[in-house]
């Protein structure tokens, strides 16, 4: 009731506080990139001087850096990330607008499956503590933690795509879940394994606590004891892992999208970096920072829900 109101107020305050943070990130990134030696057109050394000058002019690079900054921020406020330096005829807004839905779909499915399956496997292992089921689940978790997605995905592609012909190795079609299965598995596996381990450990600890003993003594069925009494405190470590999990999926998507040939925004980050495509990299930095800031906020709220002792007065 009033706690819900407190949570809403907290969320809005923090969201307002995120705007200056984002502004600082934009400013820092902008000037750091400009300060670096070299420019986006350096590799094309064969360009005649006047063509080069025209290019610079066309992209506004001939103007003083402060003017460029002013233009950039002004455009940014209207949702315009500027033209891409490398993908001719495309604005960064267009590139991101096309790629983001794919990356978002891939990432959110992977995160959701990692959370749901990870929590379920963790609970299962805790309830089978030191028995075969526990050992099997934890052995799988070690594999998930140890082997990176850029090894898992090609191996899966080789097995299910090339040898068994069950699933496509690479490529993407709108609204086709078949193309997403292998990338999602590869992407979800590492955070899934970590979550399963975290939940198992915290669940074992919670199950030893006095309030679980009380819940059992009350004659509640095991399902109720686990879901109503044990699950929320056991999820606390998962909440604090959420931001790293999103980061892990974001970084994973860089390689997974390129291996699976998915038209997401992951490839723009690496491509943009290698090509020195200033505006594209800036756009990516802004998108990812915004995502992380919102994620951090959600984690705080999740914490408050999981543990009423957490106070929300920042």
């Amino acid at each position: 009731m009033d706690r819900l109101a407190a949570m809403r107020r907290y969320f809005l305050t923090r969201l307002a506080g995120a705007v200056p943070t984002l502004f600082i990130i934009v400013t820092l990134a902008f000037f750091l990139i400009r300060a670096a030696p070299g420019g986006p057109f350096d590799q094309e050394q064969t360009l005649p001087v006047e063509v080069m000058a025209n290019l610079q002019k066309a992209y506004g690079l001939d103007q003083p850096v402060w003017t460029q900054y002013g233009h950039y921020v002004g455009a940014l406020l209207h949702g315009d990330f500027g033209p891409s330096f490398r993908y001719k005829d495309f604005s960064v807004t267009e590139l991101i607008g096309q790629g983001l839905p794919v990356t978002f779909e891939l990432g959110s499915i992977a995160l959701a499956s990692a959370l749901i399956l990870g929590v379920l496997i963790g609970i299962f292992a805790a309830l089978r503590h030191n028995r075969a089921g526990d050992y099997a689940a934890m052995s799988l978790a070690v594999v998930g933690v140890a082997i990176p997605s850029f090894v898992v995905l090609p191996f899966l592609g080789l097995l299910f795509g090339i040898y068994l012909h069950w699933l496509p190795v690479a490529g993407w079609e709108p609204a086709s879940i078949r193309h997403l299965i292998l990338p999602v598995v590869a992407l979800a596996l590492p955070p899934l394994a970590v979550i399963a381990r975290l939940v198992r450990a915290s669940m074992l600890e919670v199950l030893r606590s006095h309030y679980i003993r009380t819940a059992i003594a009350k004659g509640l069925p095991l399902r109720t004891v686990i879901l109503r009494h044990a699950l929320r405190p056991a999820l606390l470590p998962v909440a604090s892992y959420l931001a790293p999990a999103v980061a892990s999926i974001m970084t994973g998507s860089l390689v997974v999208e390129s291996i699976a040939g998915l038209p997401g925004i992951g490839r723009y980050m690496v491509q943009g970096a290698l090509n020195r495509d200033y505006t594209l990299v800036m756009g990516m930095v802004i998108i990812y920072s915004a995502l992380l800031i919102v994620m951090g906020l959600l984690v705080d709220l999740l914490y408050a829900w999981l543990d009423p002792r957490v106070r929300l007065d920042s």
Binding site: T214, A215, A217, K218, G219, L220, P221, D307, P308, R309
Partner: protein
Amino acid sequence: MEPLLNIEDLSVDYTHGGMEIPAVRQVSLAVAARESVGIVGESGSGKTQVFMAAMGLLAANAAVRGRVRFEGGDILGVGAESLNRVRGSKLTMVFQDPMTSLTPHLTIGTQLAEVLVCHAGRSWREARNAARHMLDRVRVPEPERRMSQYPHELSGGLRQRVMIGMSLLCEPLLVIADEPTTALDVTVQAHIIDLLGTMRRELGMALVLISHDLGVVAGLTDRILVMYAGRIVESAGAAELFQQARHPYTAELLKCIPSLTGPRQQRMPTLLGQPPRPGDPDEGCAFAPRCARAAPRCRTVRPPLEDAGGSAHRVACHFPLPS
């Protein structure tokens, strides 16, 4: 007629690091309907373990042997589902530490109401009404407000009142209170003991009060069992035990009761010597090493729990104190 709770030959052993550690050894005891029984002993005497075993609350590494019957039906080793027919409704337990015994993320109202939803099949709305009523009965001020509060917002004494109320929701036949006052402030202790007595008079349930403190047990129980090193060493009516304890250990315990006028101690003053350690050989009387009356026979032959005259006074001692 069979007693309400009947425990026969109950033994509890823990396996730890490849070692068998006995906690309870062949304990038999019975609690009749409406009876109030005190269980007294030092920590580690196995007094809590007996009832944890009966409630099916022992850790996974505990092995239980023997028989426990409640209302004429077996409840030991029957599996959680059968046990839950009586556990939490007809047979309930109040724990020592109210600070940690309530689930931190659920409101008091939810934790009370779920008992009725689970056992009496009530709707949540009905259950919450009944729960609020119960908070009133156990003298929790402002029950309406407490219902939507979380455990950490309540004082220790209030939380223990909530625990007691929770144990009474389904009109239990037997409430087991395990050191219900030990973790509380001295001033609050008396109130909680008071409340237990009042509720027993009002509801007429049987009560098992487990404590290391004979003083706590004194006013509230009809009969007292004294445990030492996993066994019952003396059993008598409360008044008789206080007047003439027959077991030397009980006599020592009685000396430890703080005077009613003086300050009450948090921990029992220690007896001379140490209680036996888990690895020690189980021969003769376990109290012999600390006993002033011990003879060579005490170290080799275990004294059985035998009638010691008086009304149902039983003692396990070769050389009991004269009556």
